[in-house]
Each structure stands twice: as C-alpha cells, then as structure tokens.
Subunit: 163 residues, 2 copies
DNA sequence: CTGCAAATGTTATAATGTTTCAAATTTTGC
DNA sequence: GCAAAATTTGAAACATTATAACATTTGCAG
C-alpha cells in the first residue's frame, strides 16, 4: 500500500507525499490513533523533504505556516509518528524522515548520501537475519535496530557536488 | 593484541583498562599520532566505565581531576580517539565507549542493554557482508556503518533491574 | 451536560555540540 | 641550537537539540 520512493530519481513528489498521507490516515484509523491536524501537518512537512528534517526545521516550517509552535509540539508529534511507524529518526543525523514502508513490519536500513543528503530506506531481510543471529549468539534479546550507512549515492559518485 | 572485554561478566577491569592504554600507545606510535596527556586521560576515563560515557560526563570527571576543561577540550580529544579507532561513538546514546578491537580493521556492531546500560561490541563479518551487499545493490558506495542494537543482555533477561 | 482522558499551549531549562580566536607547545628545516 | 611552521590546548561565547513542568483546551463516553 505504501507510496514507494523511487530511490535517487526524479518523480512526482507531490503525489508521493499525498499517497503517504492517505496511507497514514488508514494506518491510524486501524490503530485507533488520532492523526490530528498538527501531526498530519508535521508528517506532510517531513515527506515534502527528501532529506531528513531536524525537529527545529519542522518547527521553522510550522512557524512560517503562521502556527505559533514551540519545541514540545514538534517533538510530541514526532514521537507519535515514530510510535506508529510513520517516520523514522536517523540517529546519526538527529533528523527525521518519512517511512517508506509504513504499515509493513520491517527494520529500516538507511543509505545516507554525505554529498547530497538524500536518504534511501531499504529493508534487507538478509541483513536483519544476520543481525538477529549475531545478537542471539551472545544471548542478547534484540528489540530495536539502528542501521545507518553513510556514503555516496549513485548520482553523487559520478556528478559530485550537486543538489 | 587488544584487551578483550569479557561480555557481561565480572573481570579485572583495572587490568583491562591498563591494557587498553598500552595498546593505545602502541597504535598511536605506529600511526605517528600524539597520544597527549589529555587524550590519554580521556581514553582512560572512558575505559573505566563499562557504560558509554557522554562528552559532558567526561568533562565532569576531568573537572573533578582538577583539570579546568571546557567542552571543546573533550570533543577534540574524543574526535582524535575516534579518528584513530580507539573509541566509538554510539549515535543512539550520544555517548562514547572504548573500542575493544582497536588496531584491527572492523566495523563495530553494538549490543546495548536498555536495562543495565552495558554495551558489547561485536564484529560480525556476516553482517558486514550483507550490509555491503545491500548497499551496493542500490549502487551506493558505503563508507561508514552505524549499527546499534538495543535490547536486553543475558543477565538482565533473568534478573531484571540490577546494576 | 459532565467529567475524564488525551492532546496542545507555554515557559523555562537542560543537554549536547560548535565557532572563534588567542596562547602555548611540539615539530621541522636550517 | 634556533626560528618558522604546524599542531595542540585554553577560553569565552554561542548554536543546536531535547525535555520538564504545569496550564489549558479538545474530544469523547456515559
């Protein structure tokens, strides 16, 4: 059901955003969660950017909406969205990005281009499997996985410096 | 050569710290890097804790040494130690821990117990391999990997709440 | 309508990390 | 050795990210 991001390629991003919002409404309905106007707006703002947005970036955008928001407003919305699997937090960037696999059970793996800043979310079952194996080999009960790869995206390997 | 941490088990930690320092000196010598007193002291402080230490935790310990330090002092030392593979930064905790594989080429994977706070560093070649495969499958040139697993360590699965 | 729970507003503050420039120290070329 | 260059450290200010605490409003069940 999810709007699939086409990695590193031009696409109709408006459609992609509105698909994400539609999906989010469905998901929240199913979970009896309230996708309030603020939460929806935050999700929209995050989706409109291909690059992860910091909480204060979101805050600034809300402010320029005319919305008189303070940090807790944003952090609460982000917590909610994370809780319901609608956005991911990228720990190595202190920033948030729309989840391209919302509604599906998955562990995200993020390819972060250090040149253009774009991020691609993947699900790599083989990786997850190996991670689980490694953890349980130590008797460790894995709960949440943070997997973020920094490097160069295909485009930035050939044409450095753009975007 | 590295001082091996015995995962989640009691051991002579003083010996373990001093081994780490000895190793560090050797490594820096080989790399023509200067392990200055501040840097060495920061490394020691980090090793003395089994749990990741935040930059400001280190700062506080330096201060109680009588050393009149400011944040940049600590961050610079930490940068140096990271650069030379002597400590790792745990992005999901904003904290630092001694590298148990200093001197060996590796990509760390961290098992972080949410109950006791201890962290175990592993090297899991199979995981690395799968990560590389997944990245290159997208044409992505991976440079640095952040892989952090939060969950419960063996001890905390059976005796909750200790330590 | 009323009362409860969830969500939001508001203010203040904590925690983490960086910039900048000056001073001291170490290295290097001579 | 010695002076110039480079590296390291000191110090003050500031920037960014995140949370605490409490008041107010909103949605909803009975």
């Amino acid at each position: 059901m999810s709007a699939r991001a086409i990695p590193y390629r031009p696409h109709n991003h408006d459609a992609c955003v509105s698909q994400a919002l539609t999906d989010a409404r469905t998901i929240c309905q199913r979970q009896n969660a309230r996708l309030t106007p603020i939460r929806e707006r935050v999700l929209e703002l995050i989706w409109q950017s291909h690059k992860p947005l910091g909480a204060y970036d979101v805050l600034a955008k809300l402010s320029s909406d005319g919305h008189n928001a303070a940090p807790p407003t944003v952090y609460r919305a982000l917590d909610f969205l994370q809780q319901h699997g609608l956005v991911h937090r990228i720990a190595s960037l202190n920033a948030f990005i729309g989840c391209t696999h919302a509604g599906e059970s998955h562990t995200g793996m993020f390819l972060i281009c250090r040149a253009c800043g774009n991020v691609l979310e993947l699900t790599a079952p083989e990786v997850s499997t190996e991670v689980r194996k490694a953890a349980s080999g130590e008797g460790f009960r894995a709960e949440t996985t943070t997997l973020e790869i920094a490097g160069l995206c295909p485009r930035c390997q050939s044409e450095p410096g753009h975007d």
